[in-house]
């Protein structure tokens, strides 16, 4: 069973979609769905004011004509599928523990923040703090798989501790900041200061701006790990596998912290 939400027109304020995820909607009538509160600002906003609602709530949901004012789409998703046609706002898929979200558009900041499982696939670009940690939280993404087909903003993978992120395009400054684990791949170019304050974990960067001074050159060892990872990367497509199989220079850091993280950067 699929629930279909079609945005009538772009709202002049943000909408909080965190209550509109499959496990919270089971058994609701269309009327009850229309009354769901998606308010973030002073004016009370029921879902039905801004969306045409069709179908029945089940494990699957489709949002049409979405736009950047829709925050927390698929947040805390436990299972099922959400497909979005259009852009989304902040924190799409934040805290999700299972299921699949596909966004055929761009996502705002904190997409996949603190996700624990499931898959998040962003066909367009992603904003800052991709898979990161919201204020005060010590862990960003801890599990699951996240792919951005376009580019990502600053601090992609901030505080990530587990799971896999593949960015097919470029990443902004400080990709992989404060990383504690997991693997982040940037198939395009990463901005300056990648891996800053990284403790553990792995970055694969096709190209990068200047690295922080706490990353030391460990040469170009031929590691079986790359071959192993390349095998795991089949679902992410050719560019990710090619990056894992490229000749890679290993930098270890950030020595300003624990210094057990690593950046694999394509050797020219």
């Amino acid at each position: 069973m699929t629930l279909t939400l079609t945005l009538k027109s772009p709202p002049p304020f943000r909408l909080d979609m965190s209550g509109v995820v499959p496990h919270l909607l089971q058994g609701l009538t269309t009327q009850a769905l229309a009354r769901l509160d998606v308010t973030t600002m002073r004016v009370p906003v029921p879902l039905g004011d801004w969306f045409r609602i069709a179908g029945t709530p089940g494990s699957d949901m489709v949002i049409y004509d979405a736009c950047g004012e829709l925050d927390q789409v698929g947040a805390a998703l436990q299972g099922g599928n959400i497909v979005v046609a259009g852009n989304v706002g902040r924190a799409a898929g934040a805290g999700m523990s299972g299921g699949h979200i596909t966004i055929h558009g761009h996502a705002g900041a904190y997409a996949g923040a603190m996700m624990r499982g499931g898959t998040l696939d962003i066909m367009g670009n992603a904003g800052d703090h991709l898979a990161g940690a919201t204020v005060g939280a010590l862990d960003g993404m801890t599990g699951g798989a996240l792919q951005v087909r376009g580019h990502a903003g600053r601090r992609a993978g901030d505080r990530m501790r587990g799971g896999m992120i593949v960015i097919n395009g470029h990443a902004g400054a400080q990709a992989g900041s404060r990383l504690g684990g997991g693997t982040l791949m940037v198939c395009g170019k990463a901005g300056p200061e990648a891996g800053v304050m990284m403790r553990r974990g792995t970055l694969y960067l096709n190209e990068a701006g200047p690295l922080p001074p706490g990353f030391v050159d460990c040469g170009t060892p031929d590691l079986v790990f790359h071959k192993w990872l390349a095998q795991q990367l089949q679902p992410y497509g050719h560019s990710a596998m090619a990056l894992a199989r490229a000749k890679l220079r290993r930098y270890q850091g950030d020595m300003a912290d624990l210094g057990k993280g690593e950046i694999f950067l394509c050797a020219p």
Binding site: T183, R200, V224, F225, K227, A230, Q232
Partner: protein, 306 residues
């Protein structure tokens, strides 16, 4: 030994109306990869050396199969090794010791879990300390591997390894021929055929054992001793099990991940040896048992012959 009843005859080879009696064991499997098959095999051969019998070696181990590059976890050629032991603890110790001494040390290799299932043994988890704090843990899609820096790069080792409680050890065939050369030829043909069966290994040297044994001894502390009923040189002096035309006996012992694997291996071995015929190979094929009272698994030759 139970009294023999009328044997079956296949292609002139007498097949005893007997059965192999086998025991439940714990087993695990690892996949060893390397830049080429030579070095993967080298690690596996070293690791499975001196692993013929739990009695003296703590475990029984052998190479199960060669794996082509397209089916291994890292896209390199590899081999699958099976290890059997009587208890989880013994299996864990054998696994840690052998991977630690023979695979970790062997250039170019990586080591992965080779068995489906949830019950786990420590693999990399038991070895990571070797890296003295430089080890790196990676998890991906439910798999957890350790990367241990070593002098040729890294030793990649999966953290844990599955274990099965359904394993069967001690399946066997007794190959009896008119001359030592014919007996050896038959046994070699049997082992070659059995090596093609997945999930089963023949842990003795070259898959063959000559010192078939009985339980106990006249000497205290000697838990197993020579099976005089099958020793041709004692034929007249003891209650011999040998016919007049048998000049030499060899045994093939089989351990499998489950009952079916042992049965399949025995079936394949019987078929190959029967095909040789009594002139070039065995005149008679039997199986060892303890009267059916000790081992829960019985492999009747009558059920396995072609």
């Amino acid at each position: 030994m139970p009294k023999l009843t009328t044997p079956l005859l296949r292609n002139g080879v007498r097949i005893d109306a007997s059965f192999a009696e086998a025991f439940g064991m714990r087993a695990t499997a690892v996949i060893i990869t390397a830049p080429n098959l030579k070095w993967a095999r080298q690690a596996a051969v070293t690791m499975t050396g001196f692993a013929t019998s739990v009695i003296g070696c703590g475990c029984e181990a052998g190479i199960d199969a060669h794996l082509s590059a397209d089916i291994t976890p890292d896209g390199r050629p590899g081999v699958r090794v099976l290890i059997f032991a009587m208890s989880t603890d013994a299996l864990q110790k054998a696994l840690s010791d052998r991977v630690g001494q023979a695979v970790l040390t062997c250039p170019g290799t990586a080591c992965y879990n080779g068995l489906a299932g949830s019950e786990g043994l420590e693999l990399g988890d038991a070895l990571r300390g070797f890296a003295d704090g430089f080890q790196i843990s990676k998890r991906h899609e439910g798999r957890h591997i350790w990367r241990l820096p070593v002098m040729d790069g890294e030793f990649l080792c999966e953290a844990t390894c599955a274990m099965t409680r359904d394993a069967v050890g001690g399946g066997n065939l007794l190959v009896m021929g008119a001359s030592p050369a014919a007996t050896m030829r038959a046994a070699e043909a049997g082992v070659a055929a059995m090596q093609g069966v997945a999930g089963a290994i023949m842990p003795f040297p070259g898959g063959i054992v000559r010192s078939g044994s009985k339980v106990g001894s006249k000497y205290p502390g000697q838990s197993a001793s020579t099976n005089e009923a099958y020793c041709p040189s004692l034929r007249g002096a003891v209650a011999s099990a040998l016919d007049d035309d048998v000049a030499s006996v060899l045994e093939i012992v089989i351990d499998g991940l489950d009952y079916a694997a042992v049965a399949a291996a025995m079936r394949a071995g019987l078929k190959a040896m029967i095909a040789l015929g009594p002139e070039r190979g065995a005149v008679r094929i039997g199986a060892g048992n303890y009267g059916g009272k000790l081992g829960p698994h019985h492999f009747h030759l009558a059920d396995l012959v072609p």
